[in-house]
């Protein structure tokens, strides 16, 4: 138990400033503005409860240059935390599961590629640039498919919880991109790699929004093909 308390004590910067806390809220507001939301709804008690899981997920993402946190998240846990506002909304509004499946299928296909390439669900595994070209391709295509799928998720909602959710999902896609950039430009500081990866991800999301829906599936399928190559590669 003392380990847990010690971990929180040493991670206050991560929780309050970066990548969680203040920077997460500001970045979520910017991202919401970029997605076309001009005015966010005022915070209410239920909205505050919806905000906590995505904010916690962002705070625990292994993003440079934040100090590492010993109790990191894995992909399913992070995705569940980030989708919490959407899950609550879908349940409350009794949204059609067929519609939800159409929105989220490319994300799940991309997740298969990411997990296959990393060989683990641990999010810090997405920061390890693989040594074989097949795994590298699967990781990059998976990250691309992940980012391309984000604009096709449920329509953006005008509240902070949904904005944090979108930001967190984008940042998961940023992890492999930053790993690639940091490997290519090994001399550059790690935070520069993250900044460059975020820029690329934002550009990718903007481009994906303009492309037809089918392109998301095409990209995800390409990532899956690369992921199946990983399976053959490891035999």
């Amino acid at each position: 138990m003392s380990d847990l308390l010690g971990a929180f004590g040493q991670a206050w910067l991560r929780l309050l400033l970066y990548p969680g806390g203040l920077s997460a809220v500001l970045a979520a507001l910017v991202l919401a503005r970029l997605r076309g939301i001009r005015q966010l709804e005022p915070l209410t008690a239920p909205r505050l409860l919806d905000l906590l899981p995505p904010l916690s997920a962002i705070a625990l993402l292994p993003l440079a240059p934040a100090a590492s946190f010993p109790y990191g998240l894995d992909l399913p846990t992070a995705v569940t935390l980030l989708l919490w506002p959407e899950l609550r909304r879908a349940a409350a509004e009794r949204r059609d599961p067929h519609q939800l499946a159409a929105h989220y299928l490319p994300t799940f296909l991309a997740a298969i590629a990411l997990a296959s390439a990393a060989g683990t669900f641990d999010l810090s595994g997405l920061l390890r640039w693989p040594s074989t070209p097949v795994r590298q391709a699967a990781l990059l295509l998976g990250a691309g498919a992940w980012i391309a799928a984000i604009p096709r998720l449920a329509p953006p909602q005008p509240h902070l919880a949904a904005a944090c959710s979108a930001l967190g999902l984008m940042l998961i896609g940023v992890l492999p991109l930053s790993a690639a950039i940091n490997t290519i430009a090994a001399a550059a500081p790690a935070w520069l790699g993250v900044a460059a990866a975020i820029t690329i991800a934002l550009a990718g999301m903007a481009a994906a929004r303009r492309l037809p829906v089918q392109w998301g599936y095409v990209w995800a399928s390409a990532a899956l093909v690369a992921a199946s190559g990983v399976l053959l590669d490891s035999r």
Binding site: L52, S56, P76, T77, A91, T120
Partner: protein
């Protein structure tokens, strides 16, 4: 068919005795299984888990003498160290079920174990490995899948979910690890059949508009998930199956679809980290990832999300004490997952070790939560339940303070 009604008090008492016996035996078998009467009686981690869950499930089923018979027969099967005892016990358990599907499944399970004994050099559970054969395995897998509700997916005529039958089916497949190791084809068949049942039932649960029907599909999906992770044939898979059975039992005890407070309903969906449901779903996905099957791990997670959605869609008042107590118990058990892993799940996987592969283990992660390790002892998945809840509590307090200060709330 309706038989004589059974008095409620002795009925509940049999359930309590079975559950408490399971808990008591767990203390005795922490280091090694207990065998007696020339190995005709074997008490191991699986026996204890089945007795505990079966005992608790008795509180969720209308009182009837046939249920007591089912419980006694299941207890006999799971404590038996002789293949004939297992076969007879399983057959009686399922023959006492209300539908012909489950009865057929019972015959399949009994024939499967009977054939293993027939081909083996000994009928003793621990010395019958040479009798394992594909025909027996197919019968056992088919029986378990039918008991868990496979035929309900295929036919329009839907009946009530029989939790004791599903438990017997899953226990029968898990008990096979005591006989000997599986081959890859059997694992693949279990993964495919269990995965299909899990995802199809989860989809039905998410798409139906009737709350009690959704709950039944959800429980079939949980049984399917338990069957799927059993196919991983690893300590992680066995531990995940145990957690899923506990979650299923908790949902039946709490009956959230019959009415619950919103917060209690959500705690029972499995969507909140640190609750038993979340730990169960996570462990299922983590077991698949630790076994090196990312596709299955994501499919399992998709099924879990559908189950969460299905459970969330039907949260409705009024608040009832079983759902409130169940939600709190789920939270307590989820937070105590590291203790649960050491005390309940480790004996379960350790005592079936002879038939398991080293592809994945679920370990306590200090007090923070659970950790899944792959065959190379590398981290395959992490679930810091307590750490996450503590973090959310911190954030909640902070955001609340700021909101009050700014006058937002």
């Amino acid at each position: 068919m309706h038989f004589l009604p059974f008095n409620h008090v002795p009925y509940r008492l049999t359930g309590a005795i079975a559950g408490l016996s399971g808990i008591g035996m767990l203390f005795r078998i922490q280091r090694q299984p207990f065998t007696t009467l020339h190995a005709f009686i074997v008490i191991d981690g699986l026996s204890c888990l089945v007795l505990i869950t079966a005992g608790l499930l008795m509180f969720t089923i209308p009182a009837h003498w046939r249920r007591v018979g089912q419980l006694a027969a299941l207890g006999f099967a799971i404590l038996s160290g002789h293949l004939a005892g297992i076969a007879v016990g399983l057959m009686i358990t399922l023959l006492l079920s209300e539908r012909w599907r489950e009865r057929g499944a019972g015959v399949a399970l009994a024939t499967g174990y009977g054939l293993i004994g027939w081909f083996a050099s000994s009928w003793r559970l621990n010395a019958s490995g040479d009798g394992l054969n594909s025909l027996s395995f197919i019968l056992l897998l088919a029986g378990a899948a039918i008991a868990a509700g496979l035929l309900d997916l295929a036919t329009a005529k839907r009946g009530p979910f029989d939790p004791l039958a599903a438990l017997a089916g899953i226990a029968a497949v898990l008990r096979l690890f005591s006989v000997g190791p599986w081959n890859l084809g059997w694992q693949l068949a279990t993964l495919l059949l269990g995965g299909m049942l899990a995802i199809s039932a989860a989809w039905r649960a998410a798409t139906t508009t009737e709350p009690l029907e959704a709950e039944e599909w959800l429980q079939r999906s949980l049984s399917g998930l338990a069957l799927t992770v059993t196919g991983c044939a690893s300590p992680a898979g066995v531990a995940a199956a145990g957690l899923l059975l506990l979650h299923l039992t908790l949902r039946r005890l709490a009956q959230p679809m019959a009415g619950s407070a919103t917060w209690a309903g959500w705690l029972l969906t499995g969507a909140v980290p640190g609750t038993l449901g979340f730990v169960a779903f996570w462990s299922a996905s983590a077991a698949a990832m630790a076994a090196g099957i990312p596709v299955l791990a994501i499919v399992v997670w998709a099924a879990a999300l559908l189950c969460m959605l299905a459970a969330g869609r039907h949260i409705q008042g009024p608040a009832r004490w079983p759902s409130t107590a169940g939600a709190l118990a789920g939270l307590a058990l989820g937070l105590a997952a590291p203790v649960l892993a050491r005390w309940l799940l480790r004996p379960l996987s350790d005592h079936l070790q002879g038939g398991l592969t080293p592809y994945g283990a679920i370990e306590p992660w200090g007090w923070a939560g659970l950790l899944a390790l792959d065959s190379g002892a590398r981290t395959a998945a992490t679930a810091p339940g307590l750490a996450l809840l503590a973090l959310m509590g911190l954030f909640g307090a902070l955001v609340w303070l700021i909101s009050r200060w700014r006058g937002w709330v």
